[in-house]
Symmetry: C2
Subunit: 142 residues, 2 copies
């Protein structure tokens, strides 16, 4: 996997009226700081790519639907790619360090939901964006 | 409304592939501390009640579905009740101080999702639970 990209399995506690799904604790080793929490929804087949944060560390969790997250790391001069599918069946938290390009695609017929718990507040000046064609990646045709 | 129970309207940023929905920022006046974030799901018609936290302040946000949250406050000797429906159409964050009884019911045909960003980590010793009959409240028959 890409250096410093951390994939942590999360607990789902079964309960009759609806499960409780863990996300992030202050005592977790991948927790740095709380800056902001927000949701990004992604419709079936849609792609949001590419984006890179210069300062933000992200914690990505998918409580509903199914999302493919693709990473492109050119920090060390060579290009490294990785991808992870997040869903309730594959319930993980992805901790993404700064300076890694990423994009994601909705794989669930309904809109999927991703929570990001970031270590800093949203700041447009630390975000870089590129077009879909910036990275040569074969997204799913849905 | 119940004393110190804070209802904050949240921003939804429209985007083609799926909206971005705000939840909580470090600089928000209702933010105290980050202890833990977790999701509680609730099935259609199901009720989870009653529960009271002795220490935890909760921040409740519903990114999917529709949930009725009912509060029962007996802190000052008299009984005060309140209820709020949370959904994407009624997109608010509820900040709930300690020592208020609460319960919630799923009002969406699919399972609804509630995020709690709490100021302390989960600690069973600070949670009190009572049966549904503990508070005389007429829940919806669904």
């Amino acid at each position: 996997m890409i250096r410093d990209l951390v994939k942590t399995e999360l607990k789902i506690v079964s309960a009759m009226g609806g499960n409780v799904m863990h996300a992030l604790k202050h005592s977790d080793s991948s927790f740095k700081n709380f800056g902001e929490a927000y949701f990004s929804k992604i419709k079936f087949g849609y792609i949001k790519a590419w984006k890179r944060h210069r300062k933000m560390t992200l914690n990505l969790i998918v409580p509903f639907g199914k999302i493919k997250v693709v990473f492109f790391d050119d920090r060390s001069g060579e290009s490294v790619m990785d991808e992870v599918i997040l869903s309730q069946e594959n319930y993980y938290r992805l901790t993404v360090p700064p300076m890694i390009w990423f994009g994601f695609q909705g794989l669930h017929k309904q809109e999927s939901i991703m929570l990001n718990i970031a270590d800093i507040e949203h700041d447009p000046s630390e975000v870089e964006r590129e077009d879909l064609e910036f990275v040569n990646y074969k997204w799913e045709q849905l």
